[in-house]
């Protein structure tokens, strides 16, 4: 098998909660709680889950935009959590991120030229004219025109801004791009433009994506493999066909059944989950999903299920599949 480009082992990110008279740490938000997966070069790994389940934190921890609390992140075989700040800075050429909010992720006081040109500058392209040329090239790649370079972000529509964000991410020919919900803020009709663009770019530049989203159909559309997160944990991870056709984890099943589809012919057996997602500051013991799980057993409230392969490359964290590997 091919050497993975990225390998995440036991990644954890706990945010401290301060309180009490002296403002001591009184608890932690377990935003990401022991997540492991691998990404192969050239593939698109989708990550889905409900709001607050830790998708963004996972993405940002991988890039060390948030310092992970624990765990290992290996990029091309090197554990980058041990890198110093200068090493890390250099590495950022190869690992990029696209943010959810195209409005917030562009500096409102910089022109598009500056926004896209700056990463070039900091990674060594000193010549102004060279940068200018490259910026125009990039703009065309993402479907904008060269004359857009002198504009400011607020003069663009959401979709166009997201294109600028993508151009910025592409500037230094990265190997891996983490896409944190890149289309969820966009209009439906524009969303497909961006999805198509991203696919084209992947093919053209042989990129690898981690594609984070909460929209199951979008993830399904673009990914090769999909991981499902619940309350800071990865509960299921496998090829997309397998996941959508025969989901194994009860949460995945419920999730898939709950998605309304624009097709009156599909009559679904809805699994309506009771209650809300528990707080990550105080996750249930054992399996985090047992409080809402229709198949919950005694063991579920006591022992945290292992995240393990049930079938070939089909990882699930659920006691229902204990001993089926």
């Amino acid at each position: 098998m091919q050497q993975p480009i990225l390998e995440v082992n036991g990644l954890k990110k706990y945010f401290p909660i301060h309180g009490g008279v002296l403002g001591k740490k009184v608890g932690e938000v377990k935003a990401v709680d022991d997540v492991s997966f691998q990404v192969r070069p050239g593939e698109i790994l989708g990550i889905v889950g409900e709001s607050g389940c830790g998708k963004s934190t996972t993405g940002k921890s991988i890039l060390r935009l948030i310092e992970p609390s624990e765990g290992e992140v290996k990029f091309e075989g090197q554990d980058i959590t041990t890198f110093g700040s200068e090493e890390m800075r250099k590495l950022r050429k190869d690992m990029q991120i696209i943010f959810q909010d195209p409005y917030a992720s562009l500096n409102p006081r910089h022109t598009v030229e500056k926004i896209i040109g700056e990463p070039l500058l900091v990674h060594g392209m000193k010549s102004k004219s060279e940068r200018k040329k490259r910026v125009q090239e990039l703009l065309e790649v993402v479907g904008l025109s060269a004359y857009h370079a002198s504009r400011y972000p607020h003069q663009f529509s959401g979709g166009q801004r997201q294109r600028i964000g993508i151009a910025r991410a592409l500037a230094n020919n990265p190997k891996l791009i983490i896409c944190d919900e890149p289309v969820s803020a966009l209009d439906v009709s524009v969303q497909s433009q961006i999805l198509n663009l991203m696919e084209e770019l992947r093919d053209e530049f042989n990129l690898t994506y981690i594609f984070i989203a909460h929209d199951l159909s979008v993830v399904k559309h673009i990914s090769d493999r999909v991981g499902v997160m619940y309350l800071g944990r990865m509960v299921e991870l496998t090829d997309k066909e397998k996941l959508y056709e025969e989901p194994k984890h009860p949460y995945t099943q419920a999730l898939l059944s709950a998605v309304p589809e624009p097709d009156p012919d599909i009559v679904k057996e809805r699994i309506i989950l009771e209650g809300d997602v528990p707080s990550p500051a105080n996750p249930p013991a054992g399996c985090a999903f047992h409080t809402r799980c229709p198949f919950a057993m005694d063991i579920c409230s006591q022992i945290r299920p292992e995240f393990q392969p049930v079938d070939n490359q089909h990882f699930v964290a659920c006691h229902l599949y204990d001993g089926r590997q």
């Binding site: 309180g19 009490g20 008279v21 002296l22 403002g23």
Partner: protein
């Protein structure tokens, strides 16, 4: 809640220590020898040296500071060089006088400011709004002392409607209990006197309260406008509530959250501004106490006076913070 208050109090400790250090240093950096001031133009060098000795002025700086801290911890603010009285007891009537003035100034500022702000927001872009906001802008641009002089000139001198100075009818002084004269006269059930005392409060309160009033009015207006745009106000309207309920119940409480902070800050500003107003209206308050002390180089009074004012200011802000949390249930303690 209690933990929050305790935490805030603990956080105050470094601030308080810093404050004592500053007041102490300020006072000791002021040029001029208090012994010289006490003895005046006619003093001999020897007499001055003797007095310095007795007053402990030639101890090393940090020894003096340490002694000062120890005394403070025992509630001892020192002894006034000028009156030779215990500052901790002498200062109380001054604080009461300032408190009364500040209270009424703030009352004026809040009542007028908040309502003007509300009506302005309600009738946005009406002529009332325009005039009120213009007035508020002029209000914040006006020097307090000038306003005080103008008031005194017009209302006391030219029109003779209101008394020009002081806290009460000087011919007929009140028997002070709390030194808050309005309260005292009510305790005595002497309503005629309460009326006179209130009359004395009008001009200085307006002079002192105008700037905060203008600031509060502007703040209330913008805060109200902001709140009025919010989703929950739309919800209330969708429920079929009338405008009055919308404004005075739902919008006001939310809009007051930032306003309360401003009120707290302004109260502190008032305490400072009181120095000017108190001098002009012969108000025997703590601002004037400190100001006179500066002229007199009354070290202990300057240092304690500034410290006490700053302390009150800090306490008001603490109180406001707590109130703030009470108004806004979202905030966790």
């Amino acid at each position: 809640m209690v933990t929050y208050i305790i935490r805030r109090l603990l956080m105050l400790i470094p601030v308080l220590i810093g404050m004592t250090l500053i007041t102490f240093s300020i006072v000791h950096l002021i040029p001029g020898n208090p012994a010289q001031v006490i003895l005046g133009e006619t003093a001999t060098g020897e007499a001055i040296a003797n007095l310095e000795e007795t007053m402990g002025l030639n101890e090393p700086y940090f020894v003096q500071y340490w002694n000062y801290l120890l005394d403070l911890l025992q509630g001892d603010l020192g002894t006034s060089l000028r009156s030779k009285a215990e500052i901790s007891s002498e200062i109380l009537p001054y604080i009461a006088a300032t408190f009364e003035l500040t209270f009424f100034a703030m009352l004026f500022a809040i009542i007028v400011g908040v309502n003007a702000g509300i009506i302005s927001a309600w009738k946005q872009n009406s002529w009332f709004d325009f005039l009120a906001m213009l007035f508020a802008l002029v209000g914040v641009s006006m020097p307090v002392f000038w306003l005080a002089l103008m008031e005194q000139w017009i209302f006391a001198q030219e029109l003779g409607w209101l008394p020009a100075y002081g806290r009460q009818d000087s011919r007929d002084p009140i028997a002070a209990i709390t030194h808050l004269y309005v309260l005292d006269s009510l305790i005595h059930l002497d309503f005629a006197r309460a009326f006179t005392i209130l009359k004395h409060l009008i001009l200085p309160s307006i002079a002192l309260g105008t700037i905060p009033m203008a600031i509060i009015a502007r703040m209330t207006r913008s805060s109200m406008l902001e709140v009025m745009k919010s989703d929950y106000i739309r919800t209330v309207r969708a429920k079929g509530s009338g405008q009055f309920l919308v404004i005075y119940k739902h919008a006001l409480k939310n809009a007051m959250i930032p306003v309360v902070t401003v009120i707290g800050l302004q109260t502190g500003v008032l305490l400072g501004g009181a120095i000017l107003t108190e001098t002009i209206f012969s108000w025997p308050g703590v601002g004037r106490y400190v100001y006179e002390a500066i002229n007199y180089r009354d070290y202990p009074v300057i240092q304690s006076g500034i410290l006490v004012i700053a302390f009150i200011f800090v306490m008001i802000n603490l109180f406001v913070d707590i109130l703030y949390k009470k108004l806004d249930p979202r905030i966790k303690y």
